[in-house]
């Protein structure tokens, strides 16, 4: 039983609020430091790509945001499922806090992808399967946020959007596969293979560090948003007065 106490404590808003307040500066501090180090590593230390020259450096923002956009959607769906199954209010609050951050990461991945596409493909937008799948992911986020905003009763909004998040996460791999299949039929030759060439270690470590920095940044923002959500949802609870006193 003792091993499950941490899980049960997660259901308690005051506990989670205190936890979020304690850890926000740590994650924020790590994000700032790691981002500076990774930027230095990526923009100064890493050698230019022999084919893409300096334009490849876009990868240091593009790839981490693209990975995170998908991971945040999964996190949101897991939190939503936990909220549905164990009726945990905090989990619903966490899912609600995830959505706008994930949507912004998706926009960042699309934006940097377009900026990268201009020198590489000669156009801001091509119907590349990854870009298209990312765009559909953005629409999934919009649907989730739209449903949440469209239902006035907060309990109903939590549950309905949780069902949508779970349905969406089942659909993500199907969308990914169908878009790739669609593209392989229509695009005769890819302009440039963006596959997995073996990356030099000097190029790779800033990328991994940048991913950790962005992930840490996501956790920081999530914790801040979660606190705001908890304050809004529990505004009539007595523990709020004690915390804010």
């Amino acid at each position: 039983m003792a091993t499950w106490t941490w899980f049960h404590r997660l259901a308690s808003p005051p506990h989670v609020y205190a936890f979020a307040r304690r850890w926000t500066p740590w994650f924020g501090g790590f994000a700032a430091l790691a981002m500076c180090a990774a930027l230095f590593g990526g923009l100064v230390l890493a050698p230019a790509d022999y084919q893409q020259k300096d334009a490849f450096r876009m990868v240091y923002v593009h790839a981490p945001t693209a990975w995170l956009s998908l991971m945040i959607y999964t996190t949101m769906a897991v939190a939503a499922a936990v909220g549905l199954i164990w009726r945990m209010k905090v989990a619903h609050a966490a899912a609600a806090a995830c959505a706008p951050v994930g949507a912004w990461f998706t926009v960042a991945a699309l934006g940097t992808g377009m900026l990268w596409g201009k020198p590489m493909w000669g156009a801001y937008w091509v119907w590349d399967p990854r870009l298209t799948a990312e765009l559909v992911l953005l629409f999934l986020y919009f649907g989730y946020m739209g449903l949440r905003a469209g239902i006035e009763d907060p309990v109903k909004a939590d549950k309905a959007s949780a069902v949508l998040a779970v349905v969406g996460v089942i659909n993500v791999p199907i969308i990914k596969f169908s878009v790739e299949w669609w593209n392989s039929l229509h695009q005769v030759a890819t302009v440039m293979q963006m596959g997995k060439p073996k990356m030099d270690f000097d190029m790779l470590w800033p990328l991994l560090l940048m991913f950790l920095a962005f992930a840490s940044y996501f956790i920081t923002v999530l914790l801040i948003r979660l606190r705001a959500e908890l304050l809004r949802r529990e505004r009539n609870a007595s523990w709020i007065r004690e915390v804010l006193a």
Binding site: V136, F139, L140, F142, G143, G146, L147, G150, I151, E152, D153, V155, K156, A157, K159, A160, V163, L164, V166, V167, G168, I170, N171, I174, I175, F177, S178, V179, W181, W182, L185
Partner: protein
């Protein structure tokens, strides 16, 4: 023994729901006819905006047929649960002690028989107007029939989720369209292959796979969604 009895009563309840919905549709045929008219009008708008040239219209035909079918089925999905939620029928379903999943599944299948199937059967008229040859019609009808069935199943989840929302119509499209992307891709591909005389089996298998997945999971999700909306 007990499970056998409950399963047969669940099926009997589902059959009653289906018969009721069919009977209601015969009394109010406008719900069946209007989405069809909408589909025909959308298909007519493309020659007016694109080109009257048959060869170019034939290239655009899969897209025109599928986007028309998708929009028309979204329009029809609005009526899937809404009327029954407003007059309290859904609440009675939920309180009846019978399986809500089976009853909503019956409703969804009936809804497809009344909207998706007629649309697929009348698609050859629109397709012929877009320059599609008569030999391709079998493939056009088959792909639209299977695709609209999958679409009804996915859409039932969205229709259930938006029961609690104001201005459900736009929201329903916003939720359902991204989820329908795979159906659209495989369905349009099957139609395209049918028109160009290719083998439509591969995209039809994939479309069938999506329909089977929807068949197993969508009624459960729709029942959960409707329960939330009724709370």
């Amino acid at each position: 023994m007990k499970t056998l009895v409950t399963r047969s009563t669940a099926l009997a309840a589902a059959r009653l729901v289906a018969v009721r919905d069919l009977r209601l549709a015969f009394h109010k045929p406008s719900q069946v006819i209007q989405p069809l008219m909408f589909f025909m009008i959308v298909a007519t708008l493309f020659p007016l905006t694109l080109t009257p040239e048959m060869s170019r219209l034939r290239d655009a035909a899969p897209g025109v047929l599928w986007i028309g079918a998708l929009l028309s089925s979204l329009l029809a999905l609005e009526f899937l649960f809404r009327d029954d939620a407003v007059d309290g029928t859904l609440e009675q379903f939920a309180l009846s002690g019978q399986s809500l999943t089976w009853m909503l599944f019956a409703k969804t299948c009936t809804h497809w028989m009344l909207t998706g199937l007629p649309l697929a059967l009348s698609a050859p008229i629109a397709a012929a107007a877009l320059g599609v040859s008569a030999g391709a019609m079998g493939g056009v009808v088959a792909s639209l029939a299977l695709g609209s069935f999958a679409m009804s199943l996915v859409g039932a989840i969205g229709a259930g989720l938006t029961l609690g929302a104001r201005r459900g119509g736009v929201l329903l499209s916003l939720l359902t369209l991204p989820l329908a992307v795979p159906i659209l891709i495989f369905g349009a591909r099957a139609t395209q292959l049918a028109i160009s005389g290719g083998d439509i089996a591969p995209p039809m298998y994939l479309l069938g796979a999506i329909a089977v997945l929807g068949l197993t999971l969508a009624p459960l999700a729709a029942a959960a969604a409707v329960r939330i909306g009724l709370e």
